[in-house]
């Protein structure tokens, strides 16, 4: 068994899956570090992104770049408006209340998707044909798998640079750290939080589109969203590099675990990785223990 273990295949599949988990993990982290909200509706945003690109590509027959841009923009706006209308009024309530609110919102979106697009499976039209490249050590890499990783790494890098160097990103970090003080020094925190939700919406839509291309677009896409919690938690819900590392750790464990236990174990493996990290390092791999005040 071990002798014939396809090392190359495991490594390449983990990297491709890791790319998808980076995008998902970032969707949780960007929202959490800005507004301290666990957005459970990530999966539904993701499904919505895939369905919107389907509508723009197939129903409106728009060219590929314009359709994808419109899908990204619409979900970004949708995520921002979600914050504005539903999350902001609950400011000051316990975190748990806001989580349950996003659960309710995810239920609403799920029902609405089912009403608008029906229960059928949709296939996204491919702008370039999907070819499978054979790599050394028995590895296989598809065009869309490679594209997932490239876009994920580019998005993550752009976000890291944005938060570290841009004026807006630094203000955003300040607003997340101490909202009151930041607003006192003239930072418009509601606009910044809106932008944070929109950025997360963009990451989520990318994840949804790539999932749509590597699988089919169906209401079941939404169930994937919760898996993004694990890389986010490995990054401590704070650190972007930690989330990227977490995405690859999770993908690697999952690819090996699914080979041993079968596809039905996917969610359980993701959950087990989460529990292990929660027990060992609840503050994340790069996190620091926060001093808790009574």
């Amino acid at each position: 068994m071990i002798g014939s273990f396809p090392v190359g295949d495991v490594v390449v599949s983990s990297i491709v899956l890791g790319g998808a988990y980076i995008l998902l993990g970032l969707s949780w982290v960007v929202i959490f570090r800005a507004t301290r909200v666990l957005n459970v509706a990530v999966g539904q945003f993701m499904a919505l992104g895939a369905y919107m690109s389907f509508t723009f590509l197939v129903t409106f027959k728009l060219p590929f770049p314009i359709a994808i841009f419109l899908a990204l923009a619409s979900i970004a706006l949708f995520a921002g408006l979600t914050f504005h209308f539903f999350v902001r009024p609950l400011h000051g309530q316990p975190h748990f209340v806001v989580v349950v609110l996003t659960i309710g919102w995810s239920i609403v979106i799920g029902g609405a998707i089912s009403i608008i697009w029906g229960p059928d499976l949709h296939v996204l039209p491919q702008p370039v044909p999907d070819t499978v490249y054979l790599l050394p050590l028995g590895a296989r890499l598809s065009t869309y798998g490679a594209a997932t990783v490239v876009v994920a790494v580019l998005t993550a890098t752009a976000l890291v640079l944005f938060f570290r160097f841009s004026r807006l990103g630094i203000r955003m970090r300040a607003a997340a750290e101490l909202p009151v003080l930041a607003s006192q020094s003239g930072v418009n925190i509601t606009v910044l939080f809106f932008i944070a939700w929109a950025l997360a919406g963009i990451c989520t839509t990318f994840a949804g589109i790539f999932f749509g291309y590597t699988n089919v677009v169906s209401p079941a896409v939404a169930a994937i969203g919760l898996r993004g919690l694990t890389p986010a938690l490995i990054g401590g819900f704070e650190s972007l590099p930690g989330t990227i590392l977490g995405a690859f750790i999770l993908a690697f464990v999952e690819v090996i675990g699914v080979r041993i236990l079968g596809g039905a174990a996917e969610d359980a493996i993701v959950a087990a990785v989460l529990l292990v990290f929660l027990m060992i390092r609840p503050t994340g791999v790069f996190g620091q223990a926060e001093v808790r005040r009574v």
Binding site: F96, L101, I103, G110, A271, L274, L275, P282, V294
Partner: protein, 380 residues
């Protein structure tokens, strides 16, 4: 010599506002231990409780078989909702584990009735509860280390793992058809088969769980849980064993949900791993939120609303006049519309009545009790 010097309490000064103060105090504050401990506090409440009991007991005769079926499911839901409210609303430990514990109770029932076909349900119910309680003790371990959102995440992860284990066990023991559960009965005395029998049978357990909650709130354990919820470090300082309290909360509520799982198994008769989805856990969380955290009566109201609403919508859709605009569309998408309304209901309560139905109820009561001094603010 004054009364105070004699050791007697001074007569309270009668002010013109005395009656109003007493009425205000009666609305929220208790002025003596006996009122604090009383289950039934005033005569209108007693009348209301008697009327409610009569309504519930005669429901099959007055409202017919359809309503009885819905009420049966509500009664089946109440123990689990009460358990989650004790854990979440009273002890402050958020959990998404209801579906998993429900599954454990159901699978234990499947195992016992499969292995020992003649086993009595009166033995199965507590055993299912005990196994679930043992698992609950394990789930309590993360609660000793993490809190709040992290606890919610860890119970979510445990849910996924437990459901996967149920799937593996099902594949190895019975296959995709699932387990068949026999009819619960005491040989020679009775067996529970007809819908109306199920209604009264499950009503008993709903009533027991309600009594359990309203009683435990008035014991040392219940007060310790409230202290842990409101501030665990402060609770520790005044001598509450926080670790013990958290473990007790998880074990006791898991026991209740395990028993409920056994009842669920007997009721649905066929058990499969697909029954225990995360959506079920969400239903219970939303019942607690919509009903009102920490309130027994609120939990019952929440269960009735969350469980009953889809059936109500269905009835409206079926009975809507066909010339009503969008009637066909309404009927076509009734299943999705039920889901959308359910989600909107959760959001609406959180945004506009964050303390749940029980708060709306208290506002109404408070309005009449304070009349004519009612303002919108009196009973927040």
């Amino acid at each position: 010599m004054s009364d105070i010097a004699m050791g007697r309490p001074a007569e309270p000064v009668q002010s013109p506002l005395e009656g109003i103060w007493r009425r205000m105090a009666g609305s929220r504050l208790k002025t003596s231990y006996s009122t604090e401990l009383a289950l039934f506090r005033s005569w209108p409440q007693r009348v209301a409780i008697v009327a409610g009991v009569i309504f519930v007991l005669t429901l099959p005769q007055t409202l017919g078989p359809y309503a009885t079926g819905v009420a049966t499911i509500i009664a089946l839901t109440i123990p689990g909702a009460i358990a989650l409210n004790l854990l979440q609303g009273v002890a402050g430990q958020v959990s998404a584990g209801n579906a998993a514990f429900l599954g454990i109770g159901a699978v234990v029932t499947a195992f016992l009735t499969g292995r020992y076909p003649s086993i009595n349900f009166l033995i199965v119910l507590p055993l299912a509860g005990l196994v679930a309680a043992a698992v609950g003790a394990i789930v309590a371990l993360p609660a000793l280390r993490v809190r709040g959102l992290y606890l919610l995440i860890s119970t979510l992860a445990l849910h996924q793992i437990i459901v996967y284990l149920i799937l593996v066990y099902q594949e190895q023991s019975v296959g995709p058809a699932g387990w068949f559960i026999p009819v619960p009965s005491i040989p020679g005395l009775f067996s529970i088969e007809k819908p109306i029998q199920w209604y009264y049978f499950l009503l008993v357990f709903a009533a027991i769980s309600m009594l359990l909650m309203s009683n435990i709130l008035r014991t040392r354990i219940g007060r310790a849980w409230i202290a842990i919820r409101d501030g665990d470090i402060a609770a520790e300082i005044i001598g509450v064993n926080v670790m013990m309290g958290k473990v007790q909360a998880f074990v006791l509520t898991s026991f209740v949900i395990g028993v409920q799982g056994a009842l669920f198994a007997y009721y649905v008769q066929v058990i499969q791993h697909t029954l225990f989805t995360f959506d079920i856990a969400i239903v219970y969380i939303s019942i607690v939120i919509i009903g009102g955290m920490g309130s027994t009566f609120g939990t019952v109201l929440g269960a009735a609303l969350v469980v009953g609403l889809p059936y109500l919508l269905q009835q409206i859709a079926v009975n809507a006049p066909s010339d009503f605009p969008l009637a066909n569309l309404f009927l076509l998408h009734i299943f999705d519309l039920q889901i959308v309304v359910y989600g909107l209901m959760i959001m609406g309560f959180l945004l506009f009545a964050p303390y749940g139905l029980v708060q709306l109820w208290r506002r109404v009561i408070g309005f009449f009790r304070m009349w004519p001094f009612s303002t919108d603010r009196t009973s927040r």
